[in-house]
């Protein structure tokens, strides 16, 4: 498969985008200490969040919210 100029340009732009999104350099595995702090979790206090959702859910018409965890320490 020959690689066209167009493909090379796309690869370069995307790599640049990836680096932009991850900060100029991607965060390495040993640099995840801050992200592992409890206050940096999407949901640091599950019981508080469940309680709040439970209450707002019954007083308001809306429901739905964050459903996943992410970030963290990247530990294997």
């Amino acid at each position: 498969m020959t690689i066209s100029i167009k493909t090379i340009v796309y690869i370069a732009l995307s790599a640049g985008f990836a680096m932009l999104v991850s900060g100029c350099q991607p965060v390495q595995a040993w640099e995840r200490g801050v992200l592992a702090k409890p206050e940096m979790a999407i949901d640091p206090d599950p019981l508080e969040t469940t309680l709040n959702n439970h209450i707002y859910f019954s007083k308001e018409a809306s429901n739905g919210g964050h459903s996943a965890t992410g970030g963290g320490c990247g530990c294997n």
Binding site: G23, V34, E39, L47, T49, S67, T69, G71, C75
Partner: protein
């Protein structure tokens, strides 16, 4: 506009003396909290738990009385609820984590029964009488399998109150990409609820109805730099079956409802201040005609090595349902209509403060929140029900790891 059926007014008096009227419990006619993936307490899903943690929280929730000028009949006092929550998270073998959640609520109070405009067009609410003590229990068990690049979880749950029973189950998974900088997650849950309203014969209510709910979510999390991350989630829910509130006179709602919510979360740690900023925004839309915006900002400030102080502000605004009527029109027959304030247009502002401290393996936390609604807070035009509610909440939490 129809007139208030005299039988209904008579019944209010009768019920006050009989004192048998039961008001809706906290989760009236809504899917069990545990059924919706967003409401199962999230367990950090990067690695299996390495120790066992126990958490307990007791909360007191009190709604402000209905303002005197809006009350036509019934009790002004609204809900007072005490909620106990308990959670255990424990490792199972080397690759699994088990989570068990249970809660118990006991409540008393009155709720709006119907709305009329008997005098000069000013809305007035007829409330139910004061209730006897009501209880709700729920349970949820979840098992999570951790793999090299992600995890898979299943959970089952049930809830029980004297007029409402629900069972639910769900599955979810997440996978890390891009050297763990990006995480994709998705899940599905289902719940089936049986509704058997109290005093059905006395008030000519339905008996033995059912509703079921399916919900799916998809989310993307991205680490931006060593101090910040971002998550975007989409959540679609569909309810079908009996969606009307049997405790509200004249209430008639469609038998299906589709909802979509798009949430975004940003977390940033500020090194010089040793604090983390949380920003959350959610847009919501459904086929009842309701749109809403929710904004949540909290500041997680570390104080020394063992204390954390977390002030928080939340803003919420919703539009009204297409079939919301501020005053019940009993002549409408089978047409959809509801005067339930929860389907009216209004805004809410709440402020809270949480303080927590760690001592060895113990954690103690205290939280206070004040939530105030007003039609002037709303972004959307529309009609507001005078029965919109304000509340105060206090919580005390204890945690232990071993």
């Amino acid at each position: 506009m129809g007139t208030v059926p005299p039988a209904a007014v008579a019944a209010v008096t009768e019920q006050e003396s009989l004192n048998t009227m039961k008001s809706r419990s906290l989760l009236a006619l809504t899917a069990s909290a545990m059924a919706l993936p967003g409401l199962v307490p999230a367990v950090k899903a990067d690695t299996p738990p390495t120790d066992t943690s126990l958490s307990y929280r007791i909360s007191s929730y009190e709604e402000d009385d209905l303002p005197r000028e809006y009350l036509l009949a019934g009790s002004r006092e609204r809900y007072d609820i005490t909620i106990h929550q308990f959670q255990v998270v424990t490792p199972v073998g080397e690759n699994y984590g088990l989570t068990f959640n249970t809660s118990y609520e006991s409540m008393s109070g009155a709720s709006p029964w119907y709305a009329v405009a008997p005098f000069d067009g000013e809305q007035s609410i007829v409330m139910s009488g004061a209730t006897i003590h009501e209880e709700r229990r729920d349970y949820n068990l979840g098992l999570r399998r951790y793999l090299n690049n992600g995890s898979v979880g299943v959970n089952v749950g049930a809830s029980d109150e004297n007029d409402y029973e629900s069972w639910n189950g769900g599955i979810d998974m997440e996978r890390h990409f891009n050297n763990d900088l990006t995480t994709l997650a998705g899940g599905f849950s289902y719940s089936s609820d049986d509704i058997n309203p109290s005093d059905a014969a006395l008030f000519n209510r339905v008996t033995d109805e059912n509703k079921h709910t399916s919900s799916a979510f998809f989310s993307v999390s991205q680490i931006i730099d060593r101090n910040s991350l971002f998550q975007s989630s989409l959540n679609v829910t569909r309810h079908s079956g009996y969606l009307t509130d049997p405790y509200k006179l004249g209430d008639a709602r469609p038998d299906s409802r589709t909802q979509i919510a798009w949430s975004n979360a940003y977390r940033r740690y500020l090194t010089n201040l040793d604090a983390a900023l949380h920003l959350d925004a959610r847009l919501y839309d459904d086929n009842f005609g309701i749109n809403s915006l929710t904004l949540d900002v909290s500041w997680h400030q570390n104080v020394g090595d063992t204390w954390q102080v977390i002030p928080r502000i939340r803003y919420y605004s919703q539009s009204q349902a297409g079939f919301f009527t501020p005053v019940n029109d009993f002549s409408l027959g089978g047409v959809f209509n509801s005067s339930d304030y929860r389907l009216s247009a209004y805004g809410a502002l709440s402020g809270g403060l949480q303080v927590q401290t760690t001592l060895d393996d113990f954690t103690v936390s205290f939280a206070l929140e004040r939530y105030v609604t007003d039609d002037s807070y709303s972004l959307f035009g529309g009609e507001t029900s005078p029965a919109i509610v304000n509340f105060t909440r206090m919580s005390l939490g204890l945690g232990y790891r071993f």
